[in-house]
Amino acid sequence: MSTATLRDRVAAFADDPVTVRGALHRIGITAFVSTLLVVTLFPLYWTINTSFKPADETVTAIPTFFPENFTIEGYVNVLLTSGAIDNVINSIVVSVGATAIAILIGVPAGYAYARNPGKIGGKNVAFWILSLRMFPPIAPILPLFFIFRQLGLIDTYVAMVLLYLTFNIPLVVWLMRSFFQDVPEAVEEAALMDGYSRFQAFYKVTLPLVTPGIVATTLLVWVFSWNEFQFALVFTRTAARTFPPLIPTLVGGHETLWNQVAALSTIAMLPVIAISLLMQRRLIRGLTLGAVKG
């Protein structure tokens, strides 16, 4: 990838023999990329736009592209009247809890599979663990619903955290495995020769080296937990309900409070956007499941 500065590029462009085909080419590409950007951003813009309108302005026959009567009543109402503040708090508790435990359990497992998979089932088990992520959620939801209701765990934080572990742990194991594989064994060997035990070698030498990987994994796992819908829909009622299942209850039925729904969506987007902006590069690896070193 070239590292030319903008100035150089302009200079190069000016020096380039101008061909009709080349110019068309560039115009075509510019148009394509611009359209992409617009299409990507439009729904986000529209949602934020809707969130700042008063309820009746959201259903006008001619949509307004900027709120005529700018207001934050959507936000206030959804949080207080519709009680979304409780849901958001529940989301925070559940997502943080599920992430923390998944990391705690998954990181060591990832190390184990990176170093000596043979001892614990080999590559097949590793792939089996990843494949758990591919189950359609309805498959484990049905039996877990039975089991949890026998145990009286419906609509509890415990249930939600446990449930989220089912897809978080495989993700953590998978990602950390590839991060650990990047750490040369020589480093650990050296530590062992210096008298460290294996655990100390892991804890004091290897772990610090994969810290960026852990950070990226944590954020990724947190985002998935934050966004999860199906499990939350089935297993929560009022006490532990996170924000995703709340959204459909605000839609349809007798009248839809679009500004409230848009406000809730915007609130839900914020942490995700923040993370996305700050952690771009690190996240890419996680998002592509370490399939490609990036």
Binding site: L41, I105, M134, I138, L142, R198, N227, I247, Q280, A291
Partner: protein, 308 residues
């Protein structure tokens, strides 16, 4: 790779200790308890006539009756076909657009523009799918949504996105393509970057055309990455649920009812647990078959030691 062979000194030293065992144990136990055991239980239920709306009736084993009923159920096959359509068309479109953008980003734009593109393009992927579905619901609305308004303003027809049987599925598909094409872009772009630039230099010096280079350098080098991208997205597509729920509830009629939604209805609308679990096992079967097909292709292609 070195962790697979036992010739490293670390391997020799650690062959006799149990650190990996203890490290992996909690994860394996939890997954066993929360996934494997319940799934086996659900397999059992799928052979029974369990239905939660009929209290007090003894639960009987009816063997494969649930499966037979499903396989002869028109609505089941409808939903599977729609899922196939959705996976086929959706993943293909995402792939084509994704590849195009990835190549553009590799060859025509760079530096700050690429950073900008990355940042913006990452956003849809990170949204909660239900929020993404909601956003598109707003945009597609026929009475007060901006899309039809804009189309009408330039004289184009204003389709009934969510209320016509023909378009409802495509509308949801558009929302999903919007959300997941960035995933393709990311994987394919990073894969493209990993290709040795020398190969391209050589091709250029030999006077190869762009198309030729694409077909004979880019694609072969990226076989593994392409396969993984397609595999991951196809598998994920089987989990599709949130957008259906908030945009159309499978409607109008059953026009946008995919397999996961019908399965949900069987389980939590009709409480026909026997049938619902049977269906989820059938879906799993389809997913496993699909995954294995992909793996076959993977193994035939590039070594894949980095990939799996």
């Amino acid at each position: 790779m070195s962790s697979d062979t036992k010739t490293s000194r670390l391997g020799r030293v650690t062959k006799n200790d149990h650190l990996e065992y203890w490290f992996a144990l909690p994860a394996i136990l939890i997954l066993l308890a929360l996934v494997i055991v319940p799934m086996l239980w659900s397999l059992y239920v799928s052979f029974t006539n369990l239905n939660l709306t009929v209290s007090g009736r003894a639960v009987e084993i009816i063997w494969f009756e649930n499966y037979a009923n499903l396989l002869t159920d028109r609505r089941f096959w409808d939903s599977v076909l729609k899922t196939a359509y959705y996976v086929g068309v959706g993943v293909t479109v995402q792939f084509i657009i994704g590849f195009a953008v990835a190549l553009i980003m590799a060859n025509y734009t760079d530096g700050w523009l690429n950073s900008l593109l990355f940042t913006v393009l990452l956003l849809p992927m990170m949204m909660a799918p239900i929020v993404a579905g909601l956003m598109w619901r707003l945009v597609f609305d026929e009475s007060f949504g901006p899309l039809n308004h804009l189309l009408g303003a330039v004289g184009l027809p204003e389709p009934s996105w969510l209320s016509s049987a023909e378009l409802a599925l495509d509308a949801i598909l558009i929302a999903d393509i919007w959300q997941w094409t960035p995933f393709m872009i990311l994987i394919l772009y990073t894969g493209r970057l990993a290709i040795n630039e020398d190969l391209y230099e050589a091709a250029k010096m030999d006077g190869a055309s762009k198309l030729f280079t694409f077909r004979h350098v880019t694609v072969p080098q990226m076989k593994g990455v392409i396969a993984v991208a397609l595999l991951l997205r196809s598998m994920d597509a089987f989990k599709f649920f949130d957008k259906m729920y908030v945009m159309t509830q499978g409607g109008p009629g059953t026009a946008s009812e995919l397999a996961t939604y019908y399965n949900y209805i069987l389980g939590f609308n009709e409480f026909a647990m026997g049938k619902a679990t049977a269906m989820s096992w059938l879906l799993l079967l389809f997913a496993v078959v699909l995954a294995n097909l992909f793996l076959l292709i993977l193994e035939r292609g590039e070594g894949g030691d980095r990939v799996v």
